[in-house]
């Protein structure tokens, strides 16, 4: 057995690569529906670009069969880590394939560095605490606008993409939260660390996690809500994986919406007479198992006609933004979204909706670049367009 460096956070997943995967190819296509599901494999085709190939690369680099060189970068980093392979694979290691890929990336970053441009995800964070390189917002201005206290039961964790790229989603969420009357506030956030973990650049991950936990605790919050699928996955799964524990609960905004609907506290006073198709964000769907909750919400909106794309739920085609692909492989990233929108076109929908600002960003970029003429809206933005009443 090959010795794996103890200091690697993904050590156990690298070791797993030696004990699992016979390369049966089941990971390549949707299990039993036989649809194409892997953006990376479908683009680059060679075995090294599919999940089983990447597991082999782990074996190669650790055993010394493969020497580190820049040639390894694309097979290692050109993957959205969407996790569709995990849902197809039927072997015992299925749930850990993305963990294995991320562990391989952690190892690769040590030997050959990250993929082109992905280093900015860390360097920009080091300067401004967010991967977009925007001047850090401590969110004090927003607190003033929305009259939010310094301490509250809830913290709305905005996330970098909503705060610096998709402000309409952020503002729609803030307005919704105000309408609910819950006691919430904002904190001076650092990046949730998702982009760093996905790209294997884990040097400041634990520090950032600890910082965000401290900020949430200082705010006295017992509950954290986010409208970002990536932050949600990271706060729940990755914090635990990296040994950072906390005593607050984490919710996605749609969970609050659903709870209010179930309790009869959220009433729609207007209709949304449009045909809508829902794009499952990988970080909410495959990574967290949430598929039906958003659909149950859309179906309760008066007038909204929800239609499904051919590939949906656990075998939904990824938007192409995740895993560092948006920054590392920008042209291909938008091509992946183009394919998703082409599928959406077949449904006859005029609105493509999701519950993730990162999906919204990439789908919007493809919508514009390839002239699809959809409206790309987050659930919170659709709710924001409706006249709603919340009974407290």
């Amino acid at each position: 057995m090959v010795e794996v460096d103890n200091s690697l956070l993904g050590k156990e997943f690298l070791e797993m690569a030696f004990d699992r995967c016979i390369k049966c190819s089941t990971c390549k296509y949707g299990y039993k529906n036989f649809e194409k599901i892997c953006p990376s494999g479908e683009k680059f085709l060679f075995e090294s670009y599919w999940a089983s190939g990447r597991i082999r690369i782990i074996r190669g680099v650790l055993s010394g069969d493969l020497e580190w060189s820049d040639d390894l970068k694309d097979p290692i980093f050109a993957c959205t880590t969407c996790g569709a392979c995990m849902d197809s694979c039927q072997a015992p290691h299925a749930d850990y394939i993305v963990d294995m890929i991320e562990a391989l990336r952690e190892l690769a970053v040590r030997h050959i560095g990250p993929a082109d441009k992905q280093e900015f995800l860390v360097s920009r964070c080091e300067e401004n605490c967010n991967p977009y390189g925007k001047e850090n917002s401590d969110n004090e201005e927003l607190k003033k606008i929305y009259n939010l206290p310094d301490k509250a039961e809830w913290v709305y964790f905005i996330g970098c993409t909503s705060n610096y790229r998709q402000q309409s989603l952020r503002d729609a969420t803030l307005r919704f939260l105000k309408k609910t009357g819950i006691d919430f506030t904002l904190i001076d956030e650092h990046c949730c660390t998702s982009p760093m973990i996905r790209t294997g650049q884990v040097s400041i991950v634990k520090e950032y996690m600890q910082y965000n936990i401290d900020q949430i605790q200082k705010a006295g919050a017992k509950k954290v809500i986010t409208s970002c699928a990536g932050c949600y996955r990271t706060l729940i799964k990755d914090f635990e994986k990296f040994g950072e524990h906390y005593d607050f609960e984490v919710f996605h905004s749609l969970e609050l919406v659903k709870q209010l609907l179930d309790e009869g506290k959220l009433k729609f006073k207007s209709s949304y007479n449009k045909t809508v198709t829902y794009h499952d964000p990988c970080h909410l769907g495959r990574h967290m198992g949430i598929y039906e909750l958003p659909r149950e919400i859309y179906k309760q909106i008066p007038g909204l006609h929800l239609v499904e794309m051919k590939r949906n739920r656990n075998f939904a085609w990824c938007c192409g933004a995740g895993g560092g692909v948006k920054i590392g492989y920008p042209e291909w990233s938008v091509e992946i979204s183009r394919d998703r929108l082409a599928e959406a076109k077949e449904t006859g929908a005029s609105i493509v909706t999701s519950t993730c600002p990162f999906c919204k960003t990439n789908l919007s970029d493809a919508n514009e670049k390839f002239d699809f003429e959809f409206q790309i809206l987050d659930l919170m933005e659709i709710l924001d367009q409706l006249d709603i009443e919340i009974l407290n």
């Binding site: 390369k23 049966c24 190819s25 039993k32 075995e47």
Partner: protein, 491 residues
């Protein structure tokens, strides 16, 4: 890094020139020589020795392949065909390096389905899952047959290597159900074999309906492991898809009595397939990692899928099956017949992966390695084979994993000990066990298929010299420069 046996294949042409030519033929995005891309092609799930290819190419049409074959033949460069890569026996491991032709990525079209004469014309990269989906969506009244292999195993590769399927008791080897082939031979000739042979240039898509009655040139390619040419199209037979299907499970006590049960049920001509596994395999399927058979437990379980056009026909078939089982009981064989649907509900739904083919068989995907002695077997020797192989598994402290089939209503059988293992850690031990199994089974008359090179070396010692001489002559004639998958069968 794994090294190939011969590194002097670039005597006639430099590696750089080869790369330039390949890019000219296939385009730069369909050619790679990067070690990281080559590495996943260098080994398979078995303990067979790894060898790195020098290039991978992704063809999209026959013209490209003709150019490739001409170039390789002129320069004596090895060509190794590859489909989905879930091979056994090192079939796609390039023994002498060279160029792997990955058919799975771009030459994977179902070209035509003829409903009338019930066949599908396929490119080499078509997988079982793909074909099943296509038939279900477009021709639900037709079915193909599916092996106990992952959904993304290649149909053509399995057919031309005489794999088996879930209708093998009726049909026998998948190789028997091939209607026609299109092949490229060493001199770049494209030949169509079977009833599709009329027509100078292109075949009529509806002409791929029979293998006979002309001289059977298909035998020059079936079971040759890619050593005589490149298969670029293959027509496989389809069958009516009866609306009523049921599977029965026979549990048999006594280590060797399963043999009689399989033979007798096979001869009833009412079951589509018979596949039997050691009780340990059933336990593996229900998530016991390294199971042990306990005293008093049955030794084997067999599945009998039955299909029928009407309920009456199903009842009649079941009646025949019951009569046969009762007769066996009268002879003192302890066998229990159960409806597998009820069994799986009671026991563990994971068992259903065996019924809903093509599927990932859960007992086969648990480790990083999987190897076997897969063989065609004389059915009268099964009683001798089981205890000998069982003892070998126990000697190596591994749970016995014996998988058997009855083919063509008991004309012959399949005897296949399987070993699941941790690759990189247990290869040596597993290879020793497999070597012992091979020696025992060959002695009893078993004939391995999808055979690794080390195993053909052992077989050669038992094969009559005339056969070997003829075999070598044919190979030499078909592939004078030894470019097609060189090294297979020790060529």
């Amino acid at each position: 890094m794994t090294e190939t046996k011969q590194r002097n294949i670039y005597e006639k042409v430099s590696k750089e020139e080869v790369e330039e030519t390949l890019i000219a033929i296939f385009g730069s995005e369909s050619v790679t020589k990067k070690a990281v891309d080559l590495y996943p092609y260098s080994y398979d799930m078995t303990e067979c020795e790894a060898h790195m290819p020098d290039f991978i190419v992704l063809p999209e049409n026959v013209d490209q392949l003709v150019k490739l074959v001409n170039f390789c033949n002129t320069n004596a460069l090895p060509i190794v065909p590859y489909i989905s890569g879930n091979n056994v026996g090192g079939l796609t491991i390039p023994e002498n390096g060279g160029i792997i032709v990955d058919f799975g990525k771009k030459m994977n079209m179902i070209l035509h389905v003829n409903e009338n004469m019930m066949y599908a014309l396929l490119e080499p990269g078509v997988t079982f899952g793909q074909l099943q989906k296509h038939l279900e969506e477009n021709y639900p009244h037709l079915r193909y047959s599916y092996p106990f292999a992952p959904p993304y195993a290649g149909v053509v590769g399995n057919a031309i290597l005489s794999g088996m399927n879930n209708m093998s008791c009726k049909l026998g080897s998948m190789g028997d159900s091939i209607n026609g082939l299109e092949v490229i031979t060493a001199d770049g000739t494209i030949a169509r074999i079977g009833s599709c042979f009329y027509g100078e240039d292109k075949s009529d898509k509806d002409s791929w309906w029979s293998r006979y009655p002309m001289p059977d040139l298909m035998g020059l390619f079936i079971n040759w492991q890619g050593m005589t040419g490149l298969v670029t199209k293959c027509a496989v037979q389809l069958w009516p898809n009866p609306p009523i299907k049921k599977t029965y499970l026979a549990v048999v006590f006594g280590l060797t009595d399963i043999a009689a049960v399989m033979r007798e049920v096979g001869r009833t001509e009412v079951v589509d397939d018979i596949s039997a596994v050691s009780i340990e395999v059933i336990k593996m399927t229900v998530e016991l990692p390294e199971p042990i058979k306990k005293e008093g437990e049955p030794d084997f379980a067999a599945l009998f899928p039955i299909s029928a056009k009407t309920e009456n026909q199903m009842r009649a078939k079941k009646e025949i099956l019951d009569l046969t089982i009762n007769k066996l009981k009268d002879q003192g064989i302890k066998v229990i017949l159960a409806d597998v649907d009820e069994f799986s509900k009671l026991f563990n739904l994971r068992v259903r992966c065996y019924l809903d083919l093509p599927a990932a068989l859960l007992s086969l995907v648990e480790y990083s390695g999987l190897t076997w002695f897969g063989s065609y077997a004389p059915t009268h020797k099964i009683e001798e084979l089981i205890p000998k192989v069982n003892a070998l598994f126990l000697k190596y402290k591994l749970p016995p994993f014996i998988y058997m089939k009855i083919m063509k209503y008991s004309h012959y059988g399949i005897f296949r000990p399987i070993i699941r293992y941790k690759k990189f850690q247990e290869d040596e031990k597993v290879h020793k066990l497999l070597t012992e199994i091979t020696e025992v089974c060959i002695k009893e008359g078993c004939i391995p298929y999808k055979t690794p090179v080390w195993m053909t070396e052992k077989m050669r010692k038992h094969i009559n010299p005339g056969w070997l001489k003829l075999f070598e002559k044919v190979k030499k004639c078909m592939d004078p420069n030894n470019i097609f998958n060189p090294g297979r069968w020790n060529t």
